[in-house]
């Protein structure tokens, strides 16, 4: 991995982390909104029972989303650590290659053997680890997209339930619209996060 490639990879991780931050912020808001919605549904009584159940589900959804983002953040940290190892190893290789050019006779052979061994074991291993981490990251983002789909369904259902809210219908409708809007923002952040993750990974 060259330093330019490493820089690109690290910038990619920074963008993913930025995406994670905005999803976490949105999940936090959904959690608060859902808590308020639960109280509102309680006040509305029998006519908002369904809305209350859905608000509870949206609160769980926000919790799950936050957990998923924490796992994603850990995965990006592991990727940054793997990039660091790759950069260190490629620096060592570069210096050994230079030593190989300057060395003569037996020591030249010694360097060549060492470089070959490194290429077969360490570098290959690190590249493989980097690729595995990136696959893991992609899977986690895909899982999060699924989770957000569930959130969308819950928000839409809450909107339908709001219509049966009697005297509280307008207020419940407002809350469910806010849910939808917030989940829309999460979806946007995730799309940009997926786009970043799909950028060419270089190891």
């Amino acid at each position: 991995m060259t330093s330019a490639e490493a820089g690109r990879e690290l910038r990619r991780m920074v963008r993913i982390n930025e995406g994670i931050k905005s999803v976490v912020a949105a999940a936090f808001k959904i959690n608060l909104m859902a808590m308020n919605a639960i109280f509102l549904a309680k006040r509305a009584g029998q006519s908002a029972l369904g809305f209350g159940v859905l608000s509870n589900e949206l609160r769980s959804f926000a919790g799950d989303l936050q957990q998923q983002m924490a796992a994603l953040r850990e995965a990006t940290s592991a990727s940054v650590a793997a990039v660091t190892v790759l950069v260190k190893q490629s620096r060592v290789s570069r210096l050994l290659e230079r030593a190989g050019v300057e060395a003569q006779g037996e020591s030249k052979t010694l360097i060549q053997e060492l470089l070959q061994l490194r290429a077969e074991t360490r570098l290959a291993g690190s590249n493989q680890q980097m690729a595995t981490l990136n696959r893991g990251l992609s899977h986690m983002i895909a899982d999060t997209v699924q989770l957000v789909e569930l959130g969308s369904v819950l928000a839409r259902s809450a909107k339908i339930e709001a219509a049966y809210g009697g005297g509280f219908s307008v207020a419940l409708m407002q809350v469910s619209s806010d849910f939808e809007k917030m989940i829309g923002e999460i979806r946007q952040s995730l799309e940009s996060l997926s786009g970043t993750q799909e950028e060419d990974f270089v190891a």
Binding site: L95, A103, Q104
Partner: protein
């Protein structure tokens, strides 16, 4: 390209100086590396920065099998002293690196495992190289707060790290000091700025004066030998240090 020069030889007991990298970029400080060998065992002293590893390696391997380097002595923690450690560990992951206990948690940022490092206590220790026993001599605050020099009584050589160092201009790059008064001008500014403790300096001068030294080998510049060793110690003891400007 550096060259390896034998500066002491008595049977299998040798000292090699790896010096004068003519292809070194100007922005890198020039350094001397030393190799002590005895009975097939080798200890590399201040192996140098990672950028000069290729030059050190190729010069050293003309005279010694690099796989037989079992020990590294690091006078202190600076990058021009020890940042090539990861490369040497590639050849022999079992290399032991002797350095002040103070830097034991810092130098592993370059490379190495917990068992790579042998901490030298503040009052120094003996380090075996083959059948020889060399002495790590305290030189704390000269300039690093955890600093050691290495004395080989059998060879009469003191490796003195940054003490005795001189930043030589191009063209004045002899292996040994030939004209002390001319040479010391290139050492003065360095010592005034880098050496921070007068008390430590005087203590070092007193201790080192009591040793039998034929050659004083610094990490930068030329080697002092014969009468120039005492001349240097006397000059250093009189020098005002820890100042910004000369």
């Amino acid at each position: 390209m550096k060259t390896a020069r034998i500066i002491y030889e008595d049977g299998d007991h040798k000292w090699l100086a790896i010096v004068r990298d003519t292809s070194r970029p100007e922005f890198l400080i020039d350094t001397n590396e030393y190799l002590v060998t005895s009975d097939g065992d080798g200890m590399l002293l201040d192996p140098g920065g990672s950028e000069i590893f290729p030059a050190v390696f190729s010069a050293l391997s003309t005279s010694f099998d690099p796989r037989c380097i079992g020990k590294i002595f690091s006078s202190h923690q600076d990058p021009d002293v020890i940042s090539s450690l990861p490369m040497w560990l590639e050849f022999n992951p079992g290399i032991k690196c002797y350095l002040s206990w103070l830097w034991q948690g810092f130098v592993p940022h370059f490379a190495g495992e917990a068992d790579t490092f042998v901490p030298i206590p503040d009052n120094g220790m003996e380090i075996p190289v083959g059948s020889r026993r060399l002495r790590a001599i305290a030189a704390h605050y000269l300039h690093s707060s955890g600093n050691f020099h290495l004395y080989d009584a059998g060879a009469g050589i003191l490796f003195s790290g940054d003490v005795g160092a001189a930043l030589l201009p191009r063209g004045e790059d002899g292996l040994f000091v030939e004209d002390f008064d001319r040479h010391i001008r290139h050492a003065e500014g360095f010592h005034r700025r880098w050496m921070g403790s007068d008390k430590a300096k005087n203590d070092w001068c007193a201790r080192v004066s009591a040793l039998d030294i034929d050659m004083l080998c610094p990490q930068h510049g030329a080697i002092y030998r014969g009468a120039d060793v005492k001349r240097f110690i006397d000059w250093f003891s009189r020098l005002e240090i820890g100042v910004l400007k000369t």
